[in-house]
């Protein structure tokens, strides 16, 4: 069963001078097992949007249902929330316990699991995110490097075995290798746990490479929704929205502007090379 978002609107401080509509009239469905990317610049409403997916925020208009649970309803929300794991941008917002293992176990314990099972799940989660339990279980989370903290935070959510994994800027602030590794980890988690991944990212290259469908948010509204092919064929529009299109898409666009016919689905280096090869051979 999917996550169904219907006519979702969220207004902060309604009926006051500071009234502010953060998201407006968003309708979309996130299917089971898909890798769903969300892009949009700061203030486009994307973080408000994802907080509705696990009931951290409630719609002021419209509805969000997770596997049939209405997230506006207090009782159903608890059940829905248990299905949706949410990893925030900065691991510093959630790491608190004295050891990594205890910290990762926080979620499972809150779910009411007994100590032994919580520990088992946590160790398994640590292994899945690439934190060797032997080395890290007894370490303080505050001693970890930036990339390791991010993994520990991810493990804390994975240990709760969510069906949907929502990630807010999981690669922000990491070095290039760190970014590649986290993205690889996310992809392997998806295969292993068979879960749906919903990822917010500024990095168009990363979204282009991994996401199966992309939602583009702008000014609190859903600006576009489609496969990467569909979205990045509109590179010119993305740039005008102040978004960062993948550089290869920008290159293709620049060539188009110079009068060459470049197909619209070219936004990765691999595709660009095979296109240019084909074209040179034809000539």
């Amino acid at each position: 069963m999917p996550i169904i978002v219907e006519k979702l609107t969220h207004t902060y401080m309604p009926n006051t001078d500071n009234e502010f509509v953060a998201v407006e009239d968003i309708t979309l469905t996130i299917n089971d097992g898909e890798f769903f990317g969300i892009i949009g610049h700061t203030g486009s409403g994307k973080s408000t949007f994802i907080q509705h997916l696990n009931g951290l925020m409630q719609p002021t208009g419209g509805s969000v249902t997770v596997d049939g649970f209405d997230m506006s309803d207090k009782k159903q929300r608890a059940k829905g929330r248990a299905l949706v794991g949410m990893v925030f941008q900065y691991p510093d917002y959630q790491l608190f316990d004295s050891t990594v293992l205890d910290d990762v176990s926080f979620g499972p314990k809150n779910m009411g699991l007994d100590a032994e099972e919580a520990k088992q799940r946590s160790i398994e989660a640590m292994r899945m995110v690439g934190l060797d339990p032997e080395l890290f279980a007894e370490k303080s989370p505050f001693e970890l490097s930036g990339g390791e903290k991010r993994r520990a935070a991810l493990a804390g959510i994975i240990a709760m075995r969510p069906k949907y994994l929502v990630l807010d800027e999981p690669m922000a602030g990491l070095d290039p290798s760190g970014r590649r590794e986290i993205l690889a980890t996310i992809n392997s988690l998806r295969d292993e746990l068979n879960c749906t991944v919903i990822m917010v990212s500024h990095s168009m290259e990363d979204v282009a490479r991994s996401a199966e469908r992309i939602a583009v948010m702008n000014d609190g509204r859903l600006y576009a929704l489609g496969t990467p092919d569909e979205i990045f064929s509109r590179t010119k529009e993305l740039i005008s929205l102040g978004l960062d299109a993948p550089q290869t898409a920008r290159l293709a666009q620049e060539l188009r502007e110079r009068g060459f016919e470049v197909p619209e689905d070219i936004y990765t280096n691999e595709r660009f090379v095979s296109w240019l090869k084909g074209r040179m051979n034809d000539a």
Binding site: D175, P176, S177, G178, T248, L251, V273, K277, M280
Partner: protein
């Protein structure tokens, strides 16, 4: 001119040296990029440049003044300003213009001159309209521009950006890089850009790659990016366009070239297509 001679530094309680024998010269008006993965020592190096940290071994000299000379500390900081990573943690007061005036206030600059400096600094980063705003209501990119203005108001010769783009979104990042290049080209400021984003290195005159507290490579961006495999081994990367260039060259589709940016690549490919 900054001369760094064989410096070593360890943080209290750390097993490994954060800096392990770094020697470097940064010339006047140069745009130097320092790259390296997390923990490579690049931020520690930045803090050596204006006596925020002092080396355990070796020496750092800024315009002939040794950073170890306590009497010169203030003069050194007047010459070398640093923009830090987290925009929130470098803004001191509750009004934008007063924050920009913080540096000159510390130096005892007369009030009328502070007002003029603040005006010019805010103008230079395009934030004049926000002079009376509260910093916490601004976006990350805007806050970082305020932080740059705060450094500019001190009128340093050298501007160090210590991963100043790491916490920003693409728009904010672009604005910071543009301001840095402009200050370098138009105002003749020496810029030291410390970053992990390889795209931000393209505009530099010289790139220094750090690894394990040591300088691992140095050269022009073109020279550095030719060594993609070495970069990847150091947990870094090449810009997307350089990767594409290498792939196209390997297929023999374009001739050897030094294109680094999208528009340079477009130019090269155009020529190849037209020749064909």
């Amino acid at each position: 001119m900054i001369t760094i001679e064989n410096i070593e530094y360890s943080y209290d309680g750390a097993l490994k040296k954060a800096l392990d024998g770094v020697s470097l010269e940064i010339g006047d008006g140069e745009f130097v990029a320092i790259v390296g993965h997390n923990g490579s020592g690049k931020s520690t190096l930045a803090k050596m440049l204006n006596a925020l940290l002092l080396p355990d071994e070796g020496s750092v000299s800024v315009f002939g003044m040794a950073t170890s000379d306590e009497e010169k500390t203030l003069d050194i900081r007047k010459k070398v300003g640093i923009v830090f990573q987290n925009p929130d943690n470098q803004i001191v007061t509750t009004v934008v213009e007063e924050d920009v005036g913080f540096g000159p206030e510390n130096l005892g600059v007369p009030t009328t001159e502070i007002i003029e400096r603040v005006h010019n600094a805010l103008d230079a980063v395009g934030m004049l309209d926000y002079a009376k705003h509260a910093p916490h209501m601004l976006s990350g990119g805007q806050k970082q521009r305020i932080a740059i203005a705060g450094v500019l108001a001190i009128d340093p010769d050298v501007l160090v950006f210590d991963e100043a783009t790491a916490m920003l979104d693409p728009l904010g990042r672009k604005a910071v890089i543009e301001i840095a290049s402009r200050l370098n080209k138009e105002k003749g400021k020496t810029v030291v850009m410390i970053t992990q984003y390889m795209e931000e290195v393209i505009a530099a005159d010289r790139v220094i790659v750090m690894n394990g507290g040591k300088v691992a490579m140095t050269g022009t961006p073109e020279e550095i990016f030719k060594r993609g495999n070495e970069l990847r081994a150091l947990r870094l990367d090449v810009p997307v366009m350089v990767e594409l260039r290498d792939m196209l060259q390997a297929e023999g589709l374009i001739p050897e070239n030094d294109a680094l940016s999208v528009s340079e690549m477009a130019e090269v490919i155009c020529r190849s297509l037209l020749k064909n």
